[in-house]
């Protein structure tokens, strides 16, 4: 009597067990650019704030001196169509393309004066996911470059090289609370649902827009 030959499954059990692991490793070994060239290049990781609430936000980031963080609180008010932007020359008329409108975004901030908020970006997002990015030069009026900071009192600037400091420039001390009102151009008829704030992708803060009642 001869011994029965083991089944195909039994003979190949270790190969079958290792197959999913090998498949994951094979895909992973070819996915080294996914993070740098795709994931990190867009807004992916949201902190969501409810409409009309004072929302706290903290994120870690790297500057020339190493790892640090920024923390602040912010509330967004009702967006309102506007035809002018206050500037050093007085109220200047907004120039928008045909079929577009300019929306003012009232923001109220609170932050310790040592927090660096330099370099922030802002966008409006509509209910279909389209993103309208704040551009300080687009509306025909030169707006303040950073939509989250008072232009004259921005607070600490980021250090640019090793040995530099996170110091505040003379006369640039930022108050603990302040307001901004950046203007963003969007097509007419768009329903804006969220205000997005970010420094470096993929992290961002998404504030629900309050609706007038």
């Amino acid at each position: 009597m001869t011994a029965q030959r083991p089944s195909w499954l039994r003979r190949n059990r270790w190969g079958l067990v290792s197959l999913p692991v090998v498949a994951v490793l094979a895909v992973g070994a070819n996915a080294y650019r996914v993070s740098d060239y795709w994931w990190d290049r867009d807004l992916r990781t949201a902190t969501v704030g409810d409409a009309g609430e004072l929302v706290s936000y903290t994120e870690e980031y790297e500057d020339a001196l190493g790892t640090t963080s920024r923390s602040f609180r912010v509330r967004v008010g009702e967006l309102a169509p506007t035809r002018s932007i206050p500037s050093t020359l007085g109220d200047e008329p907004v120039v928008v393309p045909e079929g577009a409108q300019a929306l003012a975004v009232p923001l109220r901030f609170e932050a310790d004066p040592d927090q660096s908020l330099y370099g922030c970006n802002l966008a409006l997002e509509d209910t279909e996911g389209n993103r309208y990015v704040f551009d300080s030069t687009m509306s025909g009026v030169e707006q303040d470059p950073f939509p989250c900071l008072p232009f004259e009192q921005p607070g600490p600037r980021p250090p640019l090289f090793e040995g530099d400091t996170r110091a505040v420039g003379e006369g640039e001390e930022r108050p603990e609370t302040w307001s901004t009102r950046p203007v963003v151009v969007v097509p007419e008829g768009v329903r804006v649902s969220r205000v997005l704030l970010w420094w470096e992708t993929p992290d961002y803060l998404a504030l629900q827009v309050p609706r007038g009642g």
């Binding site: 577009a100 309208y132 551009d135």
Partner: protein, 208 residues
């Protein structure tokens, strides 16, 4: 069937499958730019005045003009060839779009970059609204007939156009138009991209 024969047969089949895959990839036709078809962009062809729907924007060439010089705001920029100034209307989809890949391509496949000496600037087209962009190219006279404008989001090494959509717009320059292009004395003023279109009237004439 002997076991060794089965194993050898399976091995031969696997190698044959791999070889067939490679052969198919390698024998796929090339695009005119030399890229493999499997990675080639999707090209939408059009002509002047025809809005083209791309994945990332609506693009329309609204006009083509010739000039012998460009007024960059302080001096006149000249050419031994001809300046071709192309006016575009762009409506960005989804998010602001930067037209980093604007080229003219002639019938021989020669590609011409925009002429940065002319001072024409273009910023990101904002989402969802008409944005007017003009761009000036300096081309040799023999390149004029059949010129095509290629509109892409960007170009290597800053942008990857593989599998992306881009537009090829025939500028409608026939051999009969070459004489007019070459004889022009028009001066065109520099233009910054913005919400209003460029005034297409020449800003002046060079002395004969």
């Amino acid at each position: 069937m002997p076991r060794w024969l089965t194993r050898t047969g399976v091995g031969v089949l696997v190698v044959a499958a791999l070889a067939a895959g490679r052969a198919i990839t390698d024998t796929m036709p090339l695009t005119p730019d030399g890229a493999r078809m499997a990675a080639a962009p999707f090209v939408r062809d059009g002509e002047v005045g025809e809005p083209l729907d791309l994945r990332w924007a609506e693009v329309e060439v609204t006009g083509v003009h010739e000039a012998e010089a460009i007024d960059d705001g302080s001096t006149l920029v000249g050419t031994a060839g001809v300046f071709v100034v192309v006016d575009l209307r762009v409506v960005a989809r989804g998010e602001p779009r930067y037209l980093g890949g604007l080229h003219l391509v002639d019938r021989e496949g020669r590609r011409f970059d925009r002429d940065t000496r002319t001072g024409f600037t273009y910023t990101e087209a904002p989402t969802g609204v008409d944005w007017f962009v003009s761009v000036a190219f300096e081309v040799p006279r023999d390149a004029l007939p059949g010129l095509v404008l290629e509109v892409a989001q960007g170009e290597d090494p800053w942008w990857d156009n593989r599998r992306d959509e881009l537009a090829h717009v025939d500028l409608g320059i026939a051999r009969a138009d070459v004489r007019r292009f070459v004889a022009t004395k028009d001066i065109i003023g520099r233009f910054d991209a913005g919400p209003t279109p460029r005034d297409t009237e020449p800003t002046g004439q060079l002395e004969p």
